[in-house]
Symmetry: C2
Subunit: 455 residues, 2 copies
């Protein structure tokens, strides 16, 4: 009996070792392919330069759909198709100017960008600048009558947060709700400090909302450097602000998610989705946000296919449209797969930039965390060390409405530089490092490989 146990134990150990070795070798091949013969960097260059910034409803967004479909077809995935969706349509317009007016009448032109979804000013708007250090301070101010005035909220990202996304989270409601809160008190416009990590002259745009019960007022962001300028000046003198915006919203437009698949050899109806978002804001080129996620996802499938891997489950890449201002791509995808009666076992998203990989965060059941964490050892040589609970992603988030138990996994690159570029004109191809991008592709391909084998 003892001998039999020892023999069985030996066989099991050998099988385990064999499987570990086999996986290690395959993952090494994934990284070799990504780093030596990778297509992601050239694909990102093409998306940024041949297509450009691609806000939902724009011609560029339509070109991005065409680009994505052509790209997936060129890699000969098993199925490539479009999914119809409808997206909001907002345009920045041609006028976007702001000035600080000092007490002595002296003007200072500032770098300004309308927030996405803002109404225009219908001419020039001028008002005394009322200074708040945060959205909460504005909310708490029950006394001030801001009629005819312009609110400025100078809420900086908390530089003490180690992961910059946490600092972003702290500022989000300033951008999202600033116009509502300022308008409630009678203000004629709201200006916010750009949500950016560095002190520079590049304003950062981003989505904002209105409340149907509250009068709409124009909303814009100025650069962090000029926010600091106001912070200093307003200590000793009254300032006014002047702005003109002619951005506006149009009726919704038809658009598409772009989808490609590697068919599952054993369970073709069990789906693993991986994706990023194809749309971007209209400043810069949407290189990190989220061109990187798009090429990460495409390249992950291309690598698995090129290496001859036959997945057990269907691995589906989705290039989601409209994450930035409506998430209609993510919402429509989730309801569509539910309607089709698909079994959805996992979704992975890359939407935190093309930086050096650190790991993955899981939004899903606890028992799934142990599966994710079991990959830590085999992925350690690739500097992946983060395997923990956390956020999945905006695009894949709505799947949870239909599959409450679905594990959603967010790819986590290093976050330190992300908010230097996020939603700003600096988010261009040149801000992405080739090796960092390629390592992201290999990390995601490795995760898909290990998950496909484990599930």
């Amino acid at each position: 009996m003892r001998k039999l146990f020892a023999l069985l134990s030996l066989i099991l150990t050998c099988q385990f070792s064999y499987s570990q070795t086999e996986d290690s070798l395959f993952i090494r091949k994934i990284y070799d392919e990504a780093l030596s013969r990778g297509k992601s960097y050239e694909d990102l260059r093409s998306l940024c330069k041949d297509v450009g910034a691609r806000l939902s409803g724009s011609a560029e967004a339509e070109m991005a759909v065409y680009w994505g479909e052509q790209k997936l077809k060129s890699y000969q995935f098993d199925a490539v198709y479009l999914q119809d969706i409808e997206v909001p349509h907002w345009e920045r317009g041609t006028k976007e100017s702001g000035w600080i007016k000092h007490t002595d009448g002296r003007l200072k032109k500032v770098s300004i960008t309308a927030l996405g979804g803002s109404i225009g000013t219908n001419g020039v708007v001028e008002g005394e600048l009322v200074y708040y250090t945060s959205i909460n301070e504005l909310k708490a101010d029950k006394k001030s009558d801001l009629s005819g005035k312009i609110v400025f909220i100078n809420q900086a990202m908390d530089e003490k947060e180690i992961v910059t996304f946490h600092a972003y989270g702290g500022c989000y409601s300033m951008r999202n709700e600033g116009a509502i809160e300022a308008s409630k008190k009678g203000a004629v416009a709201v200006i916010i400090r750009s949500i950016g990590s560095s002190i520079d002259y590049h304003p950062h745009t981003g989505g904002m909302t209105y409340d149907s019960e509250v009068k709409k007022i124009p909303a814009a962001a100025i650069s962090t450097a000029e926010s600091e300028y106001i912070h200093e000046k307003i200590k000793t003198e009254k300032l006014s602000f002047i702005l003109e915006l002619n951005c506006m919203s149009y009726p919704p437009k038809p658009s598409h998610n772009v989808i490609g698949e590697l068919k599952g050899s054993l369970y073709p109806n069990k789906i693993i989705t991986v994706g990023g978002h194809l749309d971007s804001w209209d400043l810069g080129e949407g290189a990190h946000d989220d061109g990187a996620g798009i090429v990460h996802s495409i390249e992950a499938l291309r690598i698995l296919k090129t290496l001859g891997y036959k997945p057990k489950h269907t691995i589906r890449v989705v290039l989601f449209m409209n994450e930035e201002n409506g998430n209609m791509g993510g919402k429509t995808y989730a309801s569509w797969v539910k309607e089709k009666g698909e079994e959805h076992i996992l979704a992975v998203e890359s939407d935190r930039g093309g930086f050096a990989p650190r790991g993955f965060t899981l939004d899903g059941p606890d028992n799934f965390l142990s599966i994710l964490q079991s990959f830590a050892t085999i992925l350690k040589p690739y500097e992946l060390h983060k395997f923990e609970k956390g956020y999945g992603g905006v695009d894949i988030g709505p799947l949870k409405n239909y599959y409450p138990e679905i594990p959603l996994i967010g790819f986590v690159p290093d976050s330190q530089r992300y908010f230097d570029f996020h939603h700003a004109e600096t988010d261009v191809f040149e801000s992405v490092n080739k090796r960092e991008l390629e390592l992201g592709c290999a990390s995601i391909a490795s995760l898909l490989y290990l998950m496909d084998k484990s599930l």
Copy 2:
């Protein structure tokens, strides 16, 4: 007895928890200081812009010594002093030009940089280009007579290496020994492919050596992009190369290491050294290599002092001179501390750039590894995950000659972008991210704090 044991156990657990909590809180303060009130970014700007590139023997290197002394004094460390050393003195000169000559006589000017220590060409040198893919291929070539010819070694960094320093290590002998090996076969000059990660037009310099038995020939590096050009062209046609360099060596010059201390409260004669190198190559501004290491080290001490920490052991920051071409700072320091009879218990070096921190590598006794690894949990929130055996540093390396058991620890930031900038004109202040730099300072300060308490 049982109750007594339980009580003791409780007390010990409480003490341990208290100590853990105390350490956690102090480390959080270290990061807050670095990220909110840090001086490192401005210090680096000043070193890069007010001093500039600072090759040993140059006026800039003298200014760097002055800058370092002033800086350490401004932070009111317990002792600030200079250590006399002697350094090699090589100058690039005013002429540095290279051309590819095609078979049809057409010229193509290339981006070229003399390797540090090379002799000049004494006028224009022209020769047929003989192509090798690696230094080993050149060494193995027993047949070719290269008399009057110019050797080109096109050895690229292995992009499949995850940690780029390993790829650098693979190319190092091409730069270091290329001139010796080419000269042995009669060549009149050697040109190497720049040791850089990206394909661009910025040549990378770096140290090279001669052999007293072998005739000295000029040595230079051309850009990676132009190396790729030669790689393609030479498949179908003979190429010649033309170059002129008027770099030359001068007699050694006096210089200094710059030293500052926080005196140990319990063991003032037990020394922990932390440092980087003050000299740099003469291209760019030596921002990552090793301005980052200099300000990391200074800032680590400043933070500990600012937070009122009284170290048990003396913590000494050393701004080493001449790491790049001679390591006279490191060698002289090691022999000097031995002569003084100091007890040296630990040395830490930062010389891998100012990127997002990943951890530390230990060159030292195995039993010390467990101490280092015991910090992993408390440093996890700061994304530090690398606590393993590895390299210490060039400057602190000679300490081992006198203290064979000394633990040497190298700070490990992410390596992906380092060789885009290393020894090239692109290694300027603007290539360093403020947050990444500051996190490095806090990581090193935290290590010093934990080590000082543990030893």
